[in-house]
């Protein structure tokens, strides 16, 4: 696993192809992805652009409207700062920039029209490891000077996508202040909560019975740190070893958010682009509702695990879905009244 800076199309990933060995893929922060589409009043699975750690610059070749969600980053259109989680107007020939985030890791850009993408297994996602999907079916994200088209024929071009962190920091330093905007609606925006310490809930499962109470205690009573090995495949954590269990397992199916314990006694959280099967022992899995938080973790972020039961996990997820769809409906009617 490696952290690379990238921007690329994403959606909710592939469904029903894991038994053939194809990974799930899809947005890591599904909540921000869906929020961006809800603000633009387009279906939740419409492609968005996932930008990792800022450094995204693009020029519009036509007037368009977009919404940016996710990490707390400065969003500039021709050097005028724009609000996060709102519909913003992006005029022809104007330069959109998403700067290095203050908090969080990934931004999602949705448009009022559907981006023209190529679907692999009914998803627009590129998977580098498999060399599948993406604009050229080669598993790669955007390259500098790519043209991104709308299905209607309007196009915008990415001027620069792959600036390194260092270059970006010097470029963007003066604009790195946090912009707080007044919310236009009384309804709370169901955005992903950003933090430096993420409390994530897990349900115990898989080989959890093989971990003794001391290991459980070490697992739940410490704060782990996200290492540099953090990607859409998974996140390797550092901290105090919880201990080893001597067991040789056959490879088995890996659930989204499953927490593997490596021979060194440290957790790896398996995410959207994980391999379908693997043989490390697992203590449990992060609940679906808390998975978007992992999409906003970056090297140095702190993670604290908390136990949760399956019924609470399901209720939490249903509530979150309801909150999101209510927001989307509200957005719909509010926009209708304004126009």
């Amino acid at each position: 696993m490696a952290t690379g800076l990238s921007s690329r199309f994403t959606d909710l990933g592939r469904v029903g192809h894991k038994h053939k060995g194809f990974t799930q893929s899809g947005a890591l922060d599904t909540n921000s992805h869906m929020l961006a589409n809800a603000i633009m009043r387009v279906p939740a699975n419409n492609p968005t652009i996932e930008v990792l750690l800022g450094g995204f610059k693009a020029l519009a070749t036509q007037d368009t409207e977009i919404a940016v969600t996710g990490a707390q980053a400065s969003i500039l259109i021709d050097d005028v700062s724009q609000p996060l989680n709102h519909k913003i107007v992006w005029k022809k020939d104007a330069m959109l920039q998403i700067m290095q985030p203050m908090l969080g890791a990934r931004n999602y850009i949705a448009c009022n029209k559907r981006f023209k993408t190529r679907l692999f297994l009914d998803s627009c996602c590129a998977v580098t490891r498999e060399k599948t999907g993406g604009m050229n079916f080669d598993g790669k994200g955007f390259q500098v000077a790519d043209m991104l088209d709308y299905e209607t024929g309007i196009s915008l071009s990415t001027a620069s996508t792959n600036a390194s962190i260092n270059v970006r920091l010097t470029q963007g330093a003066p604009d790195n202040r946090l912009i707080v905007h007044k919310t236009l609606t009384t309804m709370p925006v169901p955005a992903t909560n950003l933090a430096t310490v993420y409390v994530v809930r897990i349900v115990l499962g898989y080989q959890q019975a093989l971990f003794d109470h001391k290991m459980h205690a070490r697992f739940f009573n410490q704060r782990f740190t996200v290492s540099n090995e953090a990607s859409n495949m998974g996140i390797r954590l550092t901290g105090e070893s919880i201990g080893q269990i001597a067991v040789k397992l056959y490879s088995e199916g890996i659930a989204n958010g499953a927490i593997q314990i490596t021979p060194s006694g440290l957790p790896i959280i398996m995410l959207a682009e994980r391999q379908t099967i693997g043989g490390y022992p697992k203590i449990g899995s992060i609940i679906t509702t808390d998975l978007p938080k992992l999409g906003q973790c970056r090297p140095g972020s702190i993670i604290q695990f908390e136990e949760c039961d399956v019924l609470t996990a399901r209720q939490e997820w249903l509530l979150r879905q309801m909150r999101m769809s209510t927001f989307a409906q509200n957005q719909q009617s509010r926009n209708d009244n304004n126009e």
Binding site: V15, G16, H17, K18, H19, K20, G21, F22, R118, L119, F120, L121, D122, R129, E130, K131, T132, F137, V203, L204, G205, Y206, Y250, S251, E252, G253, I254, A255, N256, G257, A258, Q275, T276, I277, K282, G284, S285, I286, I287, T288, C308, V310, L311, A313, R314, W317, L318, Q321
Partner: protein
Amino acid sequence: MTIINYKDLIEIRTASDCCVIVYVDDTTIGLELANIVIEILTRALLANRPPWLCEYIPSYTSLLIEFSLYEVDHFAVNALLKQLINEADGEINHCVCEKSAVTTQLSCDQISDTNPNNQGALSTAKRIHRIPVCYQLDSLQTDLAKVAKDKNISEDMVVNLHCANVYRVFATGFMPGFAYLGELPVELCQPRLSKPRLKVPKGAVAIADRQTAIYPDESPGGWHIIGYTPLELLFNTTDVNSIESGHIEALLKPGDYVEFYPVTESQYINWVYS
């Protein structure tokens, strides 16, 4: 003879808030039987595919099931799985008792040459794939000589041993189209490379521990390469329409059987370029 109640070897555990995993204990019945039980359960699950079923991943001794949180909760999924296990009990016992008979029946069943011209016409009935392997290919890297030396047998013996067995597909994964085949004769068993290769060429036939496999595409890998197959292990990957509708099929599916046979370098080359 001890009578084993196979139902007692099956256990359902939580995997995540939307996944359960079914395990079959292989300690008394062995890996192959355990894997056959997994195959039976998978087939039973798909025979009346529940509307809440999102994903299923069968592997060596387990079956991971992902369900839609909208449709059901753990209780409903567990209840259905228990019912499936009860209903499949007869078939499992039958299969297990007849295991030796099943294997004989399979070998005289529909053995078909898996030839590139009729790859698309693969039917579910064909359960044994005969796969051509070129063991002497000078143009690509191989560990054949090293394996022979380490195991203190001739290269021909390595090839004979590799071709003598009928292997079962225990699991697919690692990369699309990659099938874990077992079990390799103990005479060929050896640990993985201490330092994995960054690039294993497409079509490489490799061995490690008591397993053998074919790399469907270029990939990093730590297994010992002993030959190359000219066969494509994934279909329709270049046909845009098939990809978009999701019709990509892997040649080797869990529960299939595989036999290897040697071909010469010129046969291999003809096959690759035909």
